[in-house]
């Protein structure tokens, strides 16, 4: 296999794992707990920015970019900090904006927050360098490992694989437990869940924070690979790519959403990258977004459960036969 192919494949693999982490977090919030978070990409961005400003060296006058902190922290501290930062922000946002609103209003609140966040990041130039964003974010352990660039990529892919596995097990630990069951009940009918003694506000906030932290980790690992991050990387429609992956793959099913991630952000969007540029540069990108929209509509219409639908709990069957039937 040529070096060029290997570079491409390893990059694709890294993107796949990072997207899976992101999708698992949103699936926990939306698919399992029914929290409508149309601002999810903001928490990915906060993680990315946090990791970036903590990995970069200190800012100085005359620097081509301006930002806060600049602590030059070594791996894996920026990633941990990213998860914490996104988690904390989720807590604040959750407390303020998760309300007993009609669900489309709730969706709009989050969407507007997403737009506000973009406004703030673009205009507050000293914070994270405004519209130009940050660049030259150091890749973790690059010098210490001393690997050739291609080998480093494969190592990075391996690291992402491990992280993805850990997060998958963590998320699955929730969904396959009594907590997961209570979350799904809350999603299906939160009034009834509350009437049975479930503290839905606390559960919702908990999952919002956990999902937010996972988003932050996804962003951190992403920025440490591509080494740059700007408002253009996290516009509000990006949340809908994740959403499309969830709808296509199967909401609330961890394996389903991983399949959806393989198919949508990675498979579909990457495959169409190889199509020759027709009409003009950027036509393909526009059509990709049209297809994301169409995918969402088609799946919502034909197969809202997704390719691998949610699995309701199965328990060990009884030893003896049950009695009678009603109706």
């Amino acid at each position: 296999m040529s070096d060029q192919t290997q570079f491409y494949l390893s990059t694709l693999l890294i993107y796949l794992f990072i997207d899976i982490i992101g999708v698992l977090g949103l699936n926990l919030q939306f698919g399992v707990a029914g929290i409508i978070n149309f601002a999810y990409i903001v928490f990915v961005a906060v993680g990315a920015y946090t990791a970036a400003v903590l990995s970069l060296g200190p800012d100085y006058p005359g620097n081509f970019q301006h930002y806060v902190f600049g602590a030059n922290l070594p791996f894996p501290l920026p990633i941990v900090a990213a998860g914490v930062a996104s988690g904390l922000l989720s807590l604040v946002v959750g407390v303020i904006s998760l309300r007993r609103l009609r669900s489309d209003y709730q969706a709009m609140v989050m969407l507007v927050l997403s737009l506000i966040a973009t406004l703030v990041a673009t205009n507050a130039t000293g914070l994270v360098n405004g519209p130009a964003g940050l660049a030259t974010v150091p890749q973790p352990l690059y010098d210490w490992l001393g690997l050739a660039p291609l080998d480093y990529q494969w190592a990075y892919a391996g690291w992402c694989a491990v992280l993805t596995a850990v997060i998958f097990l963590f998320v699955r630990g929730i969904t396959n437990s009594p907590l997961g069951r209570s979350l799904r009940a809350m999603r299906d009918n939160d009034r009834a869940a509350a009437a049975l003694g479930k503290n839905v506000t606390a559960m919702r906030l908990l999952i919002f924070v956990v999902g937010g932290a996972i988003a932050g980790i996804s962003g951190a690992v992403f920025v440490e690979f591509i080494q740059a991050w700007s408002p253009g990387s996290w516009l509000y429609p990006e949340t809908f790519v994740f959403l499309a992956a969830i709808l296509v793959g199967g909401a609330a099913n961890n394996w389903g959403v991983m399949l959806g991630t393989l198919l949508v952000p990675v498979g579909f969007l990457e495959a169409t990258r190889f199509l020759p540029q027709v009409f003009y540069n950027g036509f393909i990108e526009a059509m990709q977004w049209v297809c994301v929209g169409l995918l969402i509509l088609v799946f919502l219409w034909f197969r809202p459960g997704g390719l691998i639908p949610e699995r309701a709990g199965r328990y060990k069957p009884r030893a003896e036969a049950p009695s009678g039937t009603s109706e």
Partner: protein
Amino acid sequence: MNQLIPAIGFGLITASILCIAAVGFTLQFSVTNILNLAYGDIMTACAFAAYLANHAGVNIWLAMVIAALFGAVFSVVINRFVYFQFVRRGTRLFGMIIVTIAMSLIIQNVLLAIFRPTFFSYHTSPGPSYNFGGMIFTASQLAIIGIAVAAMLAVHLLSTRTKLGKAMRATATNPSLARSCGIATDQVIDVAWFVSGALCGIAGVALVLNTATFSEVTGAGFLVPIIAAAILGGIGQPYGAMLGALTIGLASEIAATVISPSYKDVVAFAILIVVLLVRPQGILSEVATAKEVAV
């Protein structure tokens, strides 16, 4: 202080455009209980329709009529063939919002694919300027304000004086009751979307007339102020939308002049988020607690 008067002038123009748009938006909500987040993109599509007519030689004001018709038909088609189909299936409220956002993505990017990422403008001149005690308006802008007033009057008369208007209000308040009184709610909904689609088209062209150049994202960029105006006034209430439009139009322009130009957008965002979190029913409405989509 002498900056304030011209700012109020700008505010009135923005308020006029916002008024037309917000009343259309709120009308769609009132009869179908849907927040149509593709509304801004439909405005853009209408603006492009006018562009095509205009560059084929049609006068811009006539092109606006064409755009209004296009918007009317387009909106009815989208509601009938997409939104209503999902509603009939039992899609819940946030499911519908996902549908409208998907629609928005599709429309915006189809426009991008067709017209390419560049800027467009109409073949028209703003006309002579007039000074009203410190507020300066071009003839075009005065026309826009005039159109807004006329449109609001038309909506008011339609809503209160005609049988159709009464049927729309009945459908908006209680669809099943309206049906049992013999009102053909399906057709009433079509008409409501036709009218609101026309308003959408007029607003789209007016928006472009006021901003000189436009691209496929122009309408979408106006969506937040539209929603803010509609929700501030009380979603589903046309008079509320007018009130909200006036408030936000004036507030944005005054903030832009008095504080800084980048604050123009911020005002609409801030008002919307505060209203959603503090008083989601807005000034005039009682809606906000969970009410599922009207069928």
